[in-house]
């Protein structure tokens, strides 16, 4: 197997609240292989977006920091690069698309200029050739009548079309890795399907890897090769997409799947998850999910490590009960 495109080890990102540093992302270890889509799944506040922003070093300059860990990408540790080196890398080797297509584009620049800017910055192209490439990209993401729309402003586009513009912008320099932070959450379901299909297709033709952040398990099934389930800033389970759906092993993953409506089951069987994700200022000492967990045991007061299930090195779970039991057998 070749080296992973992205190899994050022991990442801890912290925010300063009332003078103290609290971790939003803890002990985050995950590798994304070439041309693979890894989904990061979890409730709001579980640290998914903070993880993506940490990788690209886009956390606020004041009041946020990467406290521990390494982010290996193309032989460099992004956590230790200078800001100038990161600027060269952003949008070039790693691109990112965001949740809100309505507010993520600059309202005073034409979409053509916004796409061309990436090419001008990183390739040193002239405005003319960058605009020609921007047109090609708009056609590639299937904006109808792309040539006429090149000089339109974002407010003249619908949400789905704006997200296509965002994708065109992200692809402009053929990045090796795309960080997609809930790119379809704000879109209608039909548009969502189209955008996801487009992303899958472009992933193949561009040979990209995608780190796909979502809270929507339906989207996970459609997009992901492997899935990392996050809870309170940690990965609690990491496995292939099939194993996550067929053999969810962390109690949180189980309740997450039970809380998802499915057409093949009666909606009466839906089980809402009781309680809330603990805030980052009030994390439990032991397992973060223990207060909401149906399988809670005295051992859960110890903080569990991410451990493989018995005989399955590629299915890891952060649970004393599940991983511990299987290991003890």
């Amino acid at each position: 197997m070749t080296d992973p495109v992205l190899d994050v080890r022991g990442l801890q990102s912290e925010f300063r609240i009332a003078g103290r540093w609290y971790p939003a992302v803890r002990d985050f270890t995950l590798a994304v292989e070439a041309n693979e889509t890894v989904a990061l799944v979890g409730e709001s506040g579980s640290g998914k977006s903070a993880t993506a922003l940490s990788i690209l070093r886009l956390l606020p300059a004041v009041g946020a920091r990467i406290a521990k860990g390494s982010v290996m990408f193309a032989g460099q540790d992004l956590a230790r690069l200078s800001e100038a080196e990161m600027i060269r890398l952003r949008g070039e080797a790693i691109a990112m698309i965001f949740q809100e297509p309505m507010t993520s584009l600059n309202p005073t620049m034409t979409v053509g200029a916004q796409i061309a800017e990436v090419i001008e910055i990183h390739r040193g192209s002239t405005r003319r050739s960058a605009m020609a490439e921007a047109l090609r990209l708009l056609e590639e993401v299937r904006i109808p009548a792309a040539r006429q729309r090149l000089n339109d402003y974002p407010h003249q586009f619908s949400g789905g079309m704006r997200q296509r513009v965002m994708i065109a912008m992200a692809l402009a320099c053929r990045p090796k890795l795309l960080l997609a932070d809930e790119p379809t959450t704000a879109l209608d379901v039909t548009i969502q399907g189209q955008v996801l299909a487009l992303l899958n297709e472009l992933k193949q033709s561009y040979g990209m890897s995608i780190l796909f952040i979502t809270h929507n398990l339906g989207v996970v099934a459609q997009m992901a090769d492997r899935v990392a389930v996050m809870y309170a800033g940690e990965i609690v389970e990491f496995a292939s997409v099939n194993k996550i759906f067929e053999q969810p092993s962390h109690p949180y993953t189980e309740v997450l799947l039970k809380a998802m409506p499915r057409v093949d089951r009666d909606s009466a069987g839906l089980e809402p998850i009781t309680g809330q994700v603990p805030g980052i200022t009030a994390l439990p000492v032991g397992c973060a999910f223990a207060p909401r967990c149906p399988l809670r045991q005295p051992d859960c007061d110890r903080h569990p490590a991410l451990a493989p299930l018995a005989a399955e090195a590629d299915h890891v779970v952060r649970c004393v009960v599940r991983a511990g039991q299987e290991a003890a057998v």
Binding site: I87, R90, G91, S104, L105, V118, I121, M169
Partner: protein, 312 residues
């Protein structure tokens, strides 16, 4: 865009008419007989009567109103009662000085205010931020005539770098030297306003999603500010500059007096002290028209800055 321009220009027309009407009414609300005011209380009844008919005061009020509107729109505001020259001549003679002073003040204000406000926003809650807030607060709370006298004392009297009196000069360098202190005086106040608005508007814009998008594209800090943030932050700044123009005119009157500089301010003062009613009435129209023009320009500037404004 062209539709937007036409719409804005058409909107200025009713404003202009309303303003002329208010001035017409105001002038006629002033107690006392204009003929007596002009000729003095020793004048004979016959000469007063002649003056009234010359001024058209014997006509019915609606005839006077239509006549006033027609004359005003053709630029005829009558003759100054003290100099005998037409009001238009009087105004046009000093207007360049006032325009020059206002433009220079605006230039200085933007030149100081935009970078200072932007810098403060980028270094929020660090020393550049506090420094800019103290400077702008000082600028805002210092009355224009006080700062004018301070500038005079320091730069003209004490350091002797610049002239005390700033009358007209044919040499371009002397001309600029004459302009420097009055323009600086008005420019500092302007800069104080612009700094404050730029700072808060810039802080808003820097928190926007599209700024994060730009950073994710690999846009450098300088380019981020100049290409992405500044233009979006400019709309509130233009609004404040437009609104501030009224104050600027008030301050320019005081500044022109302190620096003995020709201009509309000096003209107003002269008209007031010599009770030159026709000149005053003409000046009211000129100032009001000036403000309406600035506001129309402000509206048009929105369209240039933000494409969403002109989009229907």
């Amino acid at each position: 865009m062209i539709r937007h321009v036409i719409k804005r220009l058409l909107l200025a027309v009713p404003t202009l008419l309303a303003m002329l009407t208010v001035i017409f009414v105001l002038v006629r609300l002033v107690p006392g007989d204009p003929a007596i005011a002009m000729l003095g209380d020793q004048a004979t009844e016959a000469s007063l009567q002649a003056m009234r008919s010359q001024l058209g005061l014997n006509e019915p009020i609606h005839v006077q109103y239509v006549d006033f509107l027609a004359r005003a729109l053709s630029g005829d505001f009558g003759r100054s009662m003290t100099s005998g020259r037409t009001v238009l001549e009087e105004v046009l003679q000093v207007l360049p000085y006032t325009l020059e002073l206002t433009a220079a003040a605006l230039f200085i204000g933007a030149l100081l205010g935009l970078p200072l406000g932007t810098w403060a926003a980028l270094r929020r809650n660090a020393w550049p931020d506090y420094a800019s807030r103290i400077i702008s607060l000082t600028g805002l709370s210092l009355p224009g005539f006080v700062s004018a006298i301070l500038l005079l004392l320091v730069f003209a009297v004490h350091l002797r770098w610049l002239p005390v009196m700033s009358a007209a000069a044919s040499d371009p360098v002397d001309h600029l030297r004459n302009l420097a202190l009055p323009a600086l005086n008005l420019g500092i106040i302007m800069a104080a306003y612009i700094t404050r608005v730029t700072r808060s508007s810039m802080l808003n814009v820097l928190g926007e999603d599209y700024i994060r998008t730009a950073r994710a594209k690999g846009v450098s800090q300088t380019r981020l500010v100049l290409r992405h943030a500044l233009r979006n932050a400019l709309v509130p700044v233009v609004t404040v500059v437009g609104l501030y123009f009224g104050t600027l005119i008030g301050n320019s009157v005081l500044t022109e007096i302190v620096f003995t500089r020709p201009g509309l301010g000096k003209l107003i003062l002269g008209a007031l002290t010599s009770r030159d009613y026709t000149l005053l009435q003409g000046l009211m129209v000129v100032f009001a028209a000036f403000i309406i023009t600035v506001n129309t320009l402000t509206d048009l500037a929105y369209g240039l800055i933000d494409p969403r404004v002109t989009y229907d």
